[in-house]
Symmetry: C2
Subunit: 428 residues, 2 copies
């Protein structure tokens, strides 16, 4: 059990109170109308716009501390807000107002021979705990997505962005208050104490229904080990592109380069390219050339190394490394079976793509690979809620339960059965 903390500590008392407040707020949110929720979102966006200077001032505090800690440039970039990024945040919140409200939606309905009318309808999950790292904009995205889907949110952002997140939260709560919804519908853990994460993972005495972790291996590992409540796993994206012998060479080159290099820092970026041995003569050199030309380093197995001196030798660790950088691992495999065996052994169940003109091979790959997203002749970088047409997303779930793939509004709901009768009793 992870709940090894002093229940009487000041932190525990305030966290448990947060949980109770969130539960109460979730009951109000669950029955709030779509118009009210959308109006709250628009007022949040306005509050973000009129709060630009406060948000920038708070961000400056975070940035100053981060500079002292001498953090990486990419980290500093993610942490930095400016007027354009804040405007984008406000627009993101407004865009969520435009999405369909999933709550109350009928997923299926049917009538039984005895006249009972059964409907499966969407309802909110309740209270969602979101634990994320240092992108302050997640505070707005996650809070807005949870609210629109009728859920209360308890947010725990990275310590490094604490002041920024708090300033953003104030704007979100202003939007809630503006329409008479409880401010406790979106709360931020009021401390950077790491113990607070443990308390969230224990469920706050039954108050938290779901934990969504957004972050690196360390965070996700801690969450999976400690959580006493359901978790939407967001494992890393060890995405593969398999170039079959029946691939169109130009398409293989385009899709591989796009999958790897369009953006290297997102979870849908390809990390390993699997080349069908039987097509190596035709495809291997063009793919290597294009990757090198695009500025990508290649780490290959013996067969790939032998093909080109620019390829470095891969170690075993390379097959399980999410580079999030201009580096790719490349292995030669024995057809689709070799590719599927490699993916089963090293993959993270996120996204895989097959490039082939042979539809039987493609269908086998689509049918037999068990990852959340399987593509045929398309870039892994399409693994994205927006690209799927779902609107904003909170991440890509790689677990098997409840949500898989992009987690948007619908994935933040559960359902119940409403059964309408006219006095039916069940015969013995």
């Amino acid at each position: 059990m992870s709940a090894v903390y002093d229940l009487d500590s000041e932190l525990a008392v305030s966290m448990l109170a947060m949980g109770r407040d969130a539960q109460r707020a979730s009951q109000e949110l669950a029955i709030a109308g779509t118009d009210v929720k959308n109006q709250a979102l628009r007022e949040m966006a306005q509050a973000i716009r009129s709060g630009v200077s406060d948000i920038l001032a708070a961000n400056a505090i975070d940035l100053e501390a981060a500079e002292k800690a001498d953090l990486r440039a990419s980290f500093m970039d993610r942490l930095t807000l400016n007027p354009e990024r804040i405007e984008a945040m406000a627009q993101g919140v407004e865009a969520i107002a435009e999405l369909d409200d999933p709550i109350g939606g009928v997923m299926a309905e049917w009538e039984r021979p005895n006249g009972l009318q059964i409907a499966r309808v969407r309802m909110p999950i309740g209270v969602i705990g979101i634990i994320y790292e240092s992108r302050p904009n997640v505070t707005a995205d996650a809070g807005a997505l949870c609210m629109k889907s009728g859920n209360a949110a308890i947010l725990r952002g990275g310590s490094d962005s604490y002041h920024s997140s708090r300033a953003i939260l104030k704007c979100l709560q202003a939007g809630l208050a503006g329409v008479g919804l409880p401010e406790a519908a979106i709360q931020l853990v009021p401390t950077t104490d790491r113990q607070a994460v443990g308390m969230m993972l224990s469920g706050l005495d039954g108050a938290i229904d779901l934990i969504v972790p957004r972050g690196g291996k360390g965070l996700v590992g801690r969450v999976e080990a400690e959580a006493r409540v359901p978790v939407f796993s967001h494992l890393e994206g060890l995405c593969h592109v398999y170039v079959d012998k029946h691939a169109d060479t130009k398409m293989a080159v385009d899709v591989v380069v796009n999958s790897k290099m369009r953006r290297t820092g997102i979870c849908g970026a390809a990390e390993t390219i699997l080349m069908d041995k039987a097509g190596a003569n035709q495809h291997l050199q063009p793919v290597i050339d294009a990757l090198v030309d695009a500025g990508c380093a290649i780490r290959g197995d013996a067969a790939v190394c032998a093909a080109d001196p620019r390829v470095e030798a891969a170690s075993d660790e390379d097959w399980t490394t999410e580079y999030l950088d201009s580096i790719v691992s490349m292995a030669m495999v024995d057809g689709i079976d070799g590719a599927m065996a490699h993916i089963a052994k090293y993959g993270s169940s996120h996204t895989e793509s097959i490039i082939t003109e042979d539809s039987a091979t493609a269908e086998r790959f689509l049918n037999e690979v068990g990852s959340a997203i399987i593509l045929h002749n398309a870039s892994t970088q399409f693994a994205d809620g927006g690209e799927f047409g779902m609107g904003a997303e909170i991440g890509i779930a790689t677990g098997k339960m409840h949500a898989r793939g992009p987690v948007g509004l619908e994935q933040l709901t559960t359902f119940k059965y409403n059964v309408r009768g006219n006095g039916q009793t069940r015969p013995a």
Copy 2:
């Protein structure tokens, strides 16, 4: 963490091997065709029929041990097999062959403006661990449901029915072998050692994807406290019937008596009747009379006690007691708000029914109560997969994630996205 056991113990070694075998079998099952799975089910049923004498002999061993332990009559009844019950078990397995195969089913599909074809398709969960108590027929039901939905099953039945379950398992495995499917697709934990349950809850080194507990409070509590893998909670059924002031009296009487008394031992049996204060003059006495006439003891709050000397005083504990017997608790509440407050405080999120002729009140109840199944003018005893038209079920889930309500074949699946393109790359 619950995995506090010696990994080198004989039990641990054999359990971990079971997990690996199940994983391998699940990969074969995942791509097995519907015809093959149905043929296996029919061969299982035949093996059960021709194995009657072996099953009865094994059951006799269990019954003898149970008699020595002097267990309750209802327990002995659940444990006892006879030729009719064994034939029913065989027919139950055959009935699962008649159900639609959920695997590969397209849940949704759409096309994106860039031409990508996205389909959300059902796939098996993988390896399901089922922990149940002493009904031996669960071995056949659970094994067959998991197999038909493409999942491998690791079954852990009650110690008291161990020999019966093992004899039934042999028949299931004969059916698998008959069509060339791996016998490891359905396994039974080969011991009554309670440590084995702890090992299952730890996930067997990642082999188990889901735990389904079927049993009383003690088992479910242990599972929820210790499980390191997702669980389909099956809490007790603290089902409520609310008789609104606008109820039709005769309907209220019929539905209340049926909800409580048709079968008292099932989780969909009502345990608490909530009477609208404003309708008490009209409805209370007829409902009490009918329950008493049907042989039901009533435990009421002060207002209900005052109405009839045959009502005993309820203690606080009564509101959270699943009697599973001819006893019901009854409280007077202040309209629908009082009823919903009582359900929120004491309910188990299983099934609740409202009896009213006022459709606005009914819609509010259907909309605002968050339990898995909400009924209007119908008996809570309809909370059943068969009555919902889903065919066989493995239980009624009361958790919020993935499955809620009856857990049939579809609920034992997950999904993935298959995306078909013709070379699409994602623009910067």
